[in-house]
């Protein structure tokens, strides 16, 4: 039997090995070998992760934390040491399984998807780089390690979105994604620097153990103002959350995620839905006791999450690009997870229902959303467009895909006994228990919207008459390598909720909390019925509009004859344009232009003046030395006079 430490090394190093070997040696010359290596190594990593998880959850050791290994990376000073290690607790073990398993599936899928691409070797290499970075992120033992891998997932996301670098839209989307997350990361880094300065450590265990009252006395100088160390920690917690805010694409930093759909679909599936974008949620979950100790940070998190949830769901109802619908749906689901974490706090008391629910939703969401993206990729691969306009009637051509889609969509809609029901129900319950009734209402509303836009997609893509030449002509078929992972993923999409519920309720608590007293929490029996009722109602509306015999599909798909409000939503509230304007006009046209003006005209101008002055001085001296006698005589006289009146010459 291999011991757990070895398993830990295997999980991390297998993807790294794949990245290095594929990137340096196999590359594009033998893409088949690269694909095989990627699938085998990621499969082994997934097996190791599942073994490790079984070992962990079956042992008596289980919900405690363990550090499998830890190395000193940069010793700064005293206790302030940046380490690289591997932390094992229920949360990270769950993420290890999710990341390796999804990565394995996506690698299999990519064999089919990238079959005709000349750069497939590079693709498999970068995909493994991403897996490695994401795994390093989830097992981080301290903030510094988290930041290192946080940046690495960012860059692998950049490289993969811009994978087809001859496409200008992909290039600009990748740039936007990187810069926007980098912008959030700069605050994250500032938060790390600030918190580590106050606390004197990067370790999660130390930071999560803090109590703010110990920091009331000292004060911290922040340049523009001075505040007590406790306030500085609160500020630090908000700054750290900002990192997650950008990475999880919460409003208003959400625009990069839908645009990131320009990348290959397997990439959207693994990075931009199942794993990387939940890093922000993961960060908050990991630092939860710290965030909970820090005043109203959790309330901020809750409102950011809740607003994103509704906002994205509304946009998703109008979109026609199948991948964008899924992207907005991802945003909305991330909003669920985020607000569930924030909803844990009620006054001074912190409950854990939301935390459990949120991590549970990370788990179930990963499977069904990954599956949905892979399905979308399959459809796009067949009909060669992202547009719902050109789909329809695919049910008969792709029967397996049809069934798997139905499973995943029922899961995301929260219909029992599919997985999403269990996690989403708990999230809604958490909002109710926290007495956040407004957010509770929004969550129910979004649950209905989710069902509506998912079934809208489903009916428009699979039902009705084919609207595409290729489908009508019968060129559409199911690719084995691409359908296999979809079918495999349908199993956890169906069952992970049912089976996971027990494990999550037993093991998943955020660790030590500063709770004055444990409350008896209300357990409202009517909530699941209401949630399911809302979902079914939304399903019926979707059916009526898009699939019933009376539905006018051509009219439903035409966005030109709509009301003003619909158009605003269809154009995503014009956020892309707003960003564009701010960046073009204000950053590039304003700040950068002013900087360049200062350099080119003021600095260089002063320099030119100095040069001119020296030249003139030189000219003056030259004239003086030209041998012109009256000048010599004149200066002599003037000099003597000056000496006479201002000096000591005895005349």
């Amino acid at each position: 039997m291999i011991n757990d430490v070895t398993l830990g090394y295997l999980i991390l190093l297998l993807p790294l090995f794949t990245f290095v070997v594929n990137g340096l040696f196999l590359g594009n010359k033998c893409a088949k070998a690269a694909a095989a290596l990627a699938v085998v190594c990621n499969g082994l990593a997934a097996a190791s992760a599942i073994l490790l998880a079984t070992d962990y959850f079956c042992s008596d050791y289980a919900p405690q934390k363990a550090i499998l290994f830890e190395y000193v990376f940069i010793p700064f000073a005293g206790e302030l040491i940046a380490k690289i290690g591997m932390l094992i607790d229920p949360l990270s073990t769950m993420m290890l399984v999710v990341v390796t398993f999804i990565s394995f599936m996506v690698n299999i899928y990519s064999i089919g998807y990238m079959r005709e691409d000349r750069a497939a070797g590079r693709f498999f290499s970068l995909l493994s780089l991403f897996s490695f970075s994401m795994l390093g992120l989830v097992v981080a033992t301290n903030l510094f390690q988290m930041f290192i891998f946080w940046e690495l997932v960012g860059v692998s996301s950049y490289l993969l979105i811009g994978f087809w670098y001859h496409k200008p839209s992909a290039v600009s989307a990748s740039k936007q994604a990187f810069i926007l997350t980098r912008f959030a990361d700069s605050f994250f880094l500032l938060g790390i620097v600030l918190v580590s300065y106050v606390v004197g450590s990067f370790d999660f265990s130390t930071i999560n153990d803090l109590s703010l009252s110990a920091f009331k006395a000292t004060s911290v100088n922040l340049g523009i103002c001075s505040m007590s160390a406790a306030d500085a920690l609160i500020l630090g917690s908000v700054l750290i959350f900002t990192g997650g805010w950008g990475k999880s694409a919460m409003f208003p930093m959400h625009i990069w995620l839908p645009n990131a759909m320009e990348g290959p679909t397997p990439v959207s599936s693994i990075i931009h839905s199942a794993t990387m974008v939940v890093a922000g949620v993961y960060l908050v979950a990991r630092l939860f006791p710290f965030m909970a100790a820090c005043g109203n940070t959790l309330t901020l998190i809750m409102w950011v999450g809740a607003f994103t949830m509704v906002f994205a769901a509304v946009i998703a109802c109008t979109q026609k690009d199948i991948k964008r619908i899924l992207a907005y749906s991802t945003l909305s689901q991330l909003g669920y997870m985020m607000f569930a974490l924030g909803a844990c706090k009620m006054g001074q008391v912190v409950a854990v229902t939301g935390w459990t629910a949120s991590t549970f939703h990370i788990f179930t969401h990963a499977f069904f959303k990954c599956s949905l993206f892979l399905i979308a990729g399959s459809l796009i691969h067949q009909v060669h467009t992202n547009d719902l306009d050109a789909m329809g009637g695919l049910r008969k051509k792709m029967p397996l895909t049809y069934i798997c889609t139905l499973i995943s969509i029922l899961a995301i809609s929260g219909i029992p006994p599919f997985s999403g029901f269990f996690s989403k129900d708990e999230i809604i319950l958490a909002a109710f228990q926290g007495h956040h009734y407004a957010v509770f209402g929004l969550a129910l509303l979004t649950s209905g919207l989710t069902t509506f836009y998912m079934f809208r997609l489903f009916f428009l893509a699979f039902h009705g008459e084919p609207r595409h030449e290729g489908v009508r002509a019968g060129h559409v078929h199911e690719d084995f390598a691409m359908t296999l992972p979809i079918v495999i993923l349908a199993v956890p999409a169906l069952l992970s909720g049912l089976l996971g519920k027990g494990i999550f309720e037993k093991f998943f608590t955020p660790g030590k909390l500063h709770v004055p007293q444990l409350l008896k929490l209300a357990h409202a029996e009517w909530i699941p019925y209401t949630a399911v009722g809302v979902a079914i109602l939304a399903l019926l509306i979707a059916w009526f509009l898009y699939a019933s015999p009376k539905a006018k599909i051509a009219r439903a798909l035409d966005e030109t004859n709509r009301s003003g409000l619909y158009k605003v939503i269809y154009h995503k509230f014009y956020f892309d344009e707003m960003y564009y304007t701010v960046v073009r006009q204000f950053i590039f046209g304003g700040v950068a232009r002013v900087s360049r003006f200062i350099q080119d005209y003021i600095v260089e101008g002063i320099l030119a003046f100095v040069i001119w002055f020296v030249h003139k001085l030189g000219d003056l001296v030259r004239t003086a030395q030209a041998g012109y006698l009256p000048f010599y005589l004149g200066t002599l006289i003037v000099g003597v006079l000056i000496w006479r009146f201002f000096g000591q010459l005895p005349l």
Binding site: I74, L152, Y165, L190, S196, N221, R596, Q599
Partner: protein, 509 residues
């Protein structure tokens, strides 16, 4: 034995020039091979010696070199009239900078293989430049230090004016005159230190044992610090660098940005701050204000430029600003971060200018708006450029991240208001750095390929070798930073001890 090898570092390039002198310029192949061989020999020697410095750490040193823990210490009377000695030695900091120089010189020789013009003279000048830079880093005697420091600016002028491109006369003059202006400030304060020190010695080791009078330090420190900072392009003396770099041939840009600009920061640390720690504590918290231009506005200016070399020059300006942020933090972590940044930036800017030079050789333009999609034609060079870019924007795994995060954490430990503000601004401007780097990479490498670039070729073996070696150095520091931190800490400890020993509290807030 090792001491002799250490002294040979600056002698070998000089000898190579002498050996090559009788060979006719028509045998350019032989000449180039000789120069490449000599650069390789020096590189191997320096790497070996760096390893020895690491291995020897903790063992006692020669008594004369004791306060600085110098290895391979040599002290020979040189100019009796001035009481100047030939004093050289190695501690972790200057050994690593020597290693950096050896790498960049080696890469510089290889990338200028096909330079137009008189190749014999060009390579001789590179070797002379190398001699002077080695000399600056090795010497612990102020006269010797200054002699080498001056030699370098002259070589630089000749190379830019004779082999450069664009406005080469203007760029060369601007660079040399500005540096000479800085040197004049340094020279004045050097004399001051000699006379105020009162021990008739130019040796840094000896002078570090005395405390210079406070009123002297108060005027001499800013003068000397700014004098050195001129060559590290600290605002307001940064204006020479964009014009100088853009006019210079590839190898000279690499040497100027990679090595020569570090000499200023090294001088600030080794001479100005080390010999006048009391004044440093008073002045540096205010000097930080100048960095707002370097670190915050520098990247914005780079965004507005279209010429690759101008972009890289402003990127260097902002990265060198971070060195000064680390120095001004006056904490051990900050000083270590500053030293790390000197080394890290040397490699990354060397890689930047090397790839830019190679691309320029093929496209004959440095305007990024005219290029596009060349990644498809030269993937190797493109990847080299992208890696340099990632290292520059501080991606973990490369040395830039290690240096920057050390500087940020070190600078944040300094509790003066101005330093805090600048540190916070510097952390937030990592985004701006990403903007200009990605914008450049995207415009140049990605997108559709113009018709005229259909016939471009990827790098040859020689060029690939340069890129691989420089990337390996960046990765090595980025992945195992503990090793390099250990070497640096040995040499920073005595400097920081001197700063900490002075009783003056840090002001400025």
């Amino acid at each position: 034995m090792e001491t002799i090898l250490f002294n040979a570092i600056w002698v070998i390039p000089l000898l190579t020039v002498l050996v090559c002198a009788p060979i006719s310029a028509t045998h350019s192949k032989i000449l180039k091979s000789l120069h490449a061989a000599s650069a390789t020999v020096v590189l191997i020697a320096v790497c070996f010696l760096t390893y020895r410095v690491y291995a020897l750490s903790g063992t006692p040193v020669d008594k004369a070199a004791d306060p600085l823990m110098l290895r391979f210490f040599t002290d020979i009377p040189w100019l009796d009239v001035f009481k100047a000695h030939y004093t050289v030695g190695a501690d972790g900091l200057n050994m690593l900078l020597l290693a950096l120089t050896a790498f960049i010189v080696w890469a510089g020789v290889l990338v200028s293989w096909n330079i137009k013009g008189n190749q014999k003279v060009f390579f001789a000048l590179i070797q002379l430049l190398a001699t002077s830079v080695y000399g600056v880093y090795m010497s612990f005697d102020l006269v010797l230090f200054f002699v080498f420091y001056e030699m370098e600016a002259l070589c630089m002028y000749l190379m830019i004016a004779c082999y450069g491109s664009g406005r080469r006369d203007y760029g060369g003059k601007k660079l040399t005159l500005t540096l000479a202006f800085g040197s004049s400030m340094i020279l004045a304060t050097l004399f001051g230190i000699y006379f105020e020190g009162g021990i008739s010695s130019w040796s840094i080791v000896e002078l570090s044992k005395v405390t210079l009078p406070m009123d002297f330090q108060m005027w001499a420190f800013p003068l000397m610090f700014m004098g050195f900072a001129v060559s590290s392009s600290l605002f307001p003396f940064h204006f020479w660098s964009p014009d100088g770099h853009s006019a210079a041939p590839t190898a000279v840009s690499m040497l100027a940005a990679g090595v020569m600009m570090k000499m200023g920061a090294y001088g600030c640390l080794r001479v100005a701050m080390f010999l006048m720690p009391e004044a440093a504590k008073i002045w540096l918290p205010y000097v930080v204000a100048l960095l707002i231009f370097n670190v915050v506005l520098g990247p914005f200016i780079a965004i507005r430029h279209k010429d690759l070399k101008y972009i890289t020059a402003y990127s260097s300006i902002s990265h060198l600003g971070l060195i000064f942020l680390g120095l001004a933090a006056l904490t051990p972590i900050g000083l270590r971060g500053a030293s790390l940044q000197m080394i890290s930036h040397g490699f990354l800017t060397g890689l930047f200018f090397a790839t830019i030079g190679m691309i320029y050789e093929r496209t004959h333009t440095r305007d990024i708006t005219e290029m596009g999609g060349i990644m498809r034609k030269m993937p190797f060079l493109g990847v080299g450029f992208v890696i340099a870019g990632f290292a520059g924007l501080g991606l973990p795994g490369f040395s830039g991240f290690i240096a920057e995060s050390t500087i940020f954490i070190g600078a944040f430990q300094q509790d003066s208001t101005l330093t805090r503000i600048v540190t916070i601004l510097a952390i937030l401007s990592i985004t701006t750095t990403a903007v200009y780097i990605l914008q450049t990479a995207n415009r140049m490498l990605h997108g559709p390929l113009p018709q005229k670039y259909e016939s471009l070729t990827d790098g040859c073996f020689r060029e690939k070798l340069v890129i691989v070696v420089l990337v390996a150095c960046l990765l090595f520091i980025g992945v195992c930073p503990g090793w390099i931190s250990e070497i640096l800490d040995q040499s920073i400890a005595p400097i920081f001890a001197k700063i900490a020993a002075s009783s003056i509290p840090v002001v400025g807030g």
